[in-house]
């Protein structure tokens, strides 16, 4: 196999040619004959009781074809939560119905209560503005603590304390954890906020629905990270149509970061309108709609406590978190603050006792769900911040305290006190690599240079771990998941020896089309250019679960490899027949089936041709054709980990923070394409820096989104981030998937925020501001300056 295109080659992404030259085909680019346009009427108040939606005037406006309101969807099912969480007392979580369009009440600014379909987009918008909504405004519920405390004001009338659930993990360990705290020599306590983020994928959500009255088939083109999941939710749960009558196509998708995992009401609304009108109906969200109605991320308020010996040995850890789910349960909103958060609270450390309590709260804000990292950034931020505070309190070195508590490289597989079994890892190795590449030894010299120009320099670390490729299905089922978490791939060898791979994973910027092709080509010993990756169309691909949680290569990639193995096994049988040898004597290497110890061989292409033109073929024992599928349900999560160092300079007069350097030493297991991995880390760290320094989702007391546009919501830009130092040479391959891969998509966003905040706090403390122990994100100039005022 040529080294420049196979596994491990830093190939440029083949999809970038079409993306960078404007040849991508996104949902908004697709137009069907006779299509009409939808616009949604959205609530401008955070909380209100709907008295009457009068559409008379709007319906009479030019071009209007139909108007539907919440009333028209009452008979449809609710958009379900994908994970059942039980409270500490064993009662199941509260699951209010999430309707297609708001009915009875509006529950957040941007909550859609009507859809207008018209001949043009502008006509639809004009008419949507002309709908007369008689809504009685109710007091907005924005603050989580207040939401729980005030039973009189309810987001959902049937839920008196606005509490979805009160979860303890692991509840049986609570007493032991409390006992350890009771006799601990030192306790460090930190209260912090993990700030709410707006996903802001470059492409806003869009849907184009088509209905064929002749066949009663529906087709939905939509911005999805997981078209089969969308089909299942829409068909089986919401609209009650047979799955075989709905095709979901997610064409090129411009980023998701989690926000396009979920089914949203707009998708069902345009499908219903398309059926009603017997015309295709298209909707493309404006950026303003994206701010108001995409599922947001994070939004935790946490009190974390770490019990330690005086020498810095961790004895126990406990947290109390309020997690905001917003107005409705988005599909994975209940899993994110629980099993994707609480189970990571051991970090890479051998803390013997851990207890996590999460209360999840309804508020009059946009729904909150998984966003790049999903629960794991929240866990990592809490742990890595409290460790720094503890080190400051005990006068310990911040690298030494981490190293002292690391799980030893020889201790794997390692069972944590929060229910995970880490299969492999070497946290000392990534830490050493970070120390080397980040030139930590040279910090004092750099700090002196910063001081000479009037700046305060600080350094912060984060040694993080995450769990990717959530699995196995039987375990997550026990824990409340309502879906399986396998994936699937079909390897279709064409008669001339080239290949179409149909994957359940969906690429919306990750680069699957390149790296998956590299893997398949390498395994089959054929040129990478002979492999095409097909994804995103439920009428073509097998039922896979899509892409999120850094799972694509670890889970779908494994299914792909298993399908390739079946192809090779069948090829061996065909070759044995053609070469008149025993199957056991056939070797397969570099694209050639060969009789061991002889020069008798057939190329992969010859075998493929024979399978489709089976003139000389063992038809009595073997089916013709060369196409194999595999489903793969992983035996465990994968556990990428790494060590990050961030150096900042703070302007003491303005509080402005500049990131001087960022070093990321990661262990992702085997790396299939280092260029793509590097890009994923760059993007992830950039997003983490955005969360740490800039992104400031703010609702006012009345539930209005103050940061509802890019004029006020600060996204990281090129000049906000440094040139990264990225390394992934530390490699402890995953022990339970054949590629030995762990996943890298979320790493940067998980590991970086605490490194940045730790660096800023360090800079201030070194400058004598010893009263500064924490600054909440985003660590904006205003907040840093305020912290320095004492």
């Amino acid at each position: 196999m040529p080294k420049d295109t196979g596994i491990g080659a830093p190939m440029k992404r083949r999809e970038d040619i079409r993306f960078l030259t404007g040849k991508g085909r996104y949902t908004a680019d697709i137009n069907l004959r006779g299509q009409a346009y939808a616009a949604f009427a959205r609530s401008d108040m955070a909380h209100g009781r709907i008295n009457k939606i009068d559409t008379t005037a709007a319906a009479a406006m030019p071009g209007v074809l139909c108007i539907m309101t919440g009333e028209d969807f009452v008979a449809m099912g609710g958009n379900p939560a994908g994970w059942l969480i039980n409270s500490r007392d064993g009662t199941p979580m509260r699951e209010p119905k999430r309707p297609v369009l708001a009915h009875g009440k509006v529950r957040h600014v941007g909550d859609a209560y009507a859809v207008v379909v018209a001949e043009t987009e502008e006509q639809a918008r004009d008419a949507a503005e002309a709908i007369e909504a008689d809504i009685t405004e109710l007091p907005a519920i924005v603050d989580m603590a207040a939401a729980i405390a005030d039973p009189s004001n309810r987001v959902h009338d049937e839920i008196p304390d606005n509490l979805c659930f009160d979860w303890g993990w692991i509840e049986d360990n609570r007493a032991a954890v409390d006992a350890a705290f009771a006799k601990a020599p030192h306790i460090t306590t930190l209260e912090l906020v993990n700030n709410r983020l707006v996903p802001n994928a470059m492409e806003p959500r869009a849907s184009l629905a088509d209905f064929n009255p002749g066949t009663e088939d529906y087709t939905l083109y939509t911005t999805s990270q997981n078209p089969h999941l969308h089909r299942l939710l829409i068909a089986a749960f919401v609209m009650g149509i047979p799955e075989n009558k709905l095709t979901v196509i997610a064409p090129d998708v411009g980023g998701g970061f989690g926000s396009k995992i979920y089914h949203y009401g707009e998708e069902a609304a345009v499908l219903a309108a398309a059926k009603h009108l017997k015309r295709p109906v298209k909707w493309v969200a404006t950026r303003s709609e994206a701010f108001l109605s995409d599922a947001h991320g994070r939004d935790h308020v946490t009190k974390i406590q770490l019990a330690l010996d005086k020498d810095g040995t961790f004895l126990a850890l406990r947290t109390e978190t309020l997690a905001n789910v917003g107005a409705y349960l988005s599909n994975f909103s209940t899993a994110t603050p629980t099993f994707l958060h609480g189970t990571l609270m051991a970090g890479p450390y051998k803390t013997p006792l851990v207890y996590v309590n999460v209360k999840t709260v309804f508020t009059n804000t946009a729904p909150v769900d998984a966003y790049r990292g999903a629960g794991r950034p929240e866990a990592t931020f809490s742990i890595e911040r409290v460790i720094d505070k503890a080190a400051d309190e005990l006068g310990l070195d911040k690298i030494a305290i981490r190293r002292k508590n690391f799980i030893d490289p020889g201790a794997f597989p390692y069972t944590t006190p929060v229910g995970l079994v880490y299969d492999t890892g070497n946290y000392h190795a990534t830490l050493d690599k970070m120390i080397e590449l980040g030139d930590i030894a040279g910090f004092d010299k750099r700090a002196a240079a910063s001081k000479a120009k009037g700046k305060l320099r600080g350094i912060g670390y984060s040694t993080w771990i995450e769990a990717c490729g959530i699995a196995p299905s039987h375990l997550v089922g026990v824990l409340g998941s309502r879906v399986g978490l396998y994936d699937a791939a079909t390897v279709r060898v064409n008669a001339t020896g080239n290949i179409s791979v149909l994957t359940g994973a969906h690429s919306h910027g990750q680069g699957h089309e390149t790296v998956f092709a590299q893997v398949v080509a390498d395994k089959l010993g054929i040129p990478e250019s002979s492999v095409e990756i097909v994804h995103g169309d439920t009428s073509k691909i097998p039922f896979g679960m899509g892409s999120y949680g850094s799972r694509s290569l670890a889970v779908c990639g494994t299914a792909m490899v298993k399908a390739v193995d079946k192809i090779i096994a069948k090829g061996r049988k065909i070759a044995a027949h053609m070469l008149e040898a025993a199957e056991g004597d056939i070797t397969f290497e570099d694209g050639k089936f060969q009789v061991a110890g002889t020069d008798k061989a057939k190329t992969f292409g010859e075998i493929a041709f024979s399978a489709y033109v089976p003139h000389n073929y063992p038809l009595e024992t073997l089916e013709p054709g060369l196409e194999e599928s595999a489903f793969y349900d992983p035996g465990n999560f994968t556990f990428p980990a790494g060590a990050y160092a961030c150096e900042v300079e703070v302007d003491p007069e303005t509080g402005r923070v500049e990131i001087c350097s960022f070093t990321a030493a990661d262990d992702f297991g085997h790396v299939m394409n280092p260029l793509i991995v590097q890009g994923q880390v760059h993007g992830g760290v950039g997003q983490g820096i955005g969360q740490a320094l800039l992104e400031n989702t703010t609702y006012d007391e009345g539930g209005q989104l103050l940061s509802g546009s890019f004029m006020d919501y600060a996204m990281p830009r090129a000049d906000d981030v440094p040139f990264y130092i990225v390394d992934h040479s530390c490699n402890t391959p995953c022990t339970h998937n054949p590629l030995g891969v762990k996943g890298c998509g979320e790493a940067g966003a998980i590991g970086s925020p605490p490194a940045v905040v730790n660096a800023v706090v360090d800079a201030l403390r070194r400058a004598g501001h010893k009263n500064v122990t924490h600054i909440d994100m985003p660590v904006s100039p205003k907040r840093v300056w305020q912290a320095m005022q004492g």
Partner: protein, 261 residues
């Protein structure tokens, strides 16, 4: 965006006539107006573009003044004022991004008078004269509050005449999202005294910091500002900065601007 008609007159007279129509709105770069229209928050029936009027374009330095046509884009000012009035050129060159600088104009900026815009501080600190189709307005009389100016209905800014200072500098601290001035300070030293204008911070828009002007007129050094403080009670507070934070920025930026001048 709602539908609208578009006209591009070649003379001020034609523009005035076009603007007299019901629902007409002047367009001079559109870097605020077009975005507002896209959000459907403004719906003029006719846009009257002012950028085709030759008399309103160009940069000319003579006799100690710099005259900038109101329809001159920022990028042109950044280039053509660089030797005559470098501080003003740098202000223009630091507005927005290249797309904004090649569309946005000084006339559009000061007619809109956004409290976070850069130009109002340059105009006010320079004691410039705003020349309209009807009269000449001193900068001190022109800016009258948030998005409010002395302009009357149908009055068009034709040019702005800046007296060129001995020394000057403009420094802004950017709001992290919009990159408008969270606070910006323009310091200009004239034989008659020093003028200090602050944008982005005032509850009523751009204003002069008279205490700093007095101190700097006596002693044009950063140290002269040391003992002063700004009363935050007349300053803006929002997501990005409290009045107290802005008060601090005004002082810090003034000192830095004096040092840079």
């Amino acid at each position: 965006m709602h539908n609208f008609d578009f006209v591009k007159p070649a003379s001020v007279e034609e523009a005035v006539k076009a603007l007299a129509q019901e629902g007409a709105q002047a367009l001079s770069g559109g870097q605020t107006l077009i975005a507002t229209m896209k959000q459907r928050l403004a719906a003029p029936t006719t846009l009257v573009s002012l950028t085709g009027i030759a008399a309103m374009k160009g940069v000319k330095a003579e006799g100690g003044t710099l005259t900038v046509g109101a329809a001159t884009p920022h990028a042109v000012v950044a280039k053509e004022a660089a030797s005559a009035y470098p501080a003003l050129a740098r202000l223009a060159g630091g507005i927005g991004d290249p797309a904004v600088r090649n569309r946005g104009t000084v006339g559009g900026s000061i007619a809109n008078n956004d409290p976070a815009a850069c130009y109002p501080s340059g105009v006010l600190a320079s004691g410039a004269t705003v020349v309209t189709n009807k009269r000449r307005i001193a900068a001190d009389d022109y800016f009258q509050g948030l998005f409010t100016t002395a302009l009357e209905e149908g009055e068009i800014v034709i040019q702005v005449v800046f007296p060129i200072p001995e020394k000057a500098a403009y420094l802004k601290f950017e709001q992290p999202a919009s990159r408008f001035a969270l606070t910006g300070v323009f310091v200009a030293k004239y034989p008659s005294g020093v003028r200090v204008a602050v944008t982005g911070a005032g509850a009523d828009g751009v204003f002069r910091w008279s205490e700093a002007e007095a101190a700097l007129s006596k002693n044009f050094s950063a140290a002269a500002v040391d003992g002063l403080s700004v009363d935050p009670s007349n300053l803006m507070g929002d997501l990005h900065g409290t009045p107290e934070y802005r008060a601090n920025l005004i002082k810090v930026l003034t000192k830095r601007a004096v040092a840079a001048a």
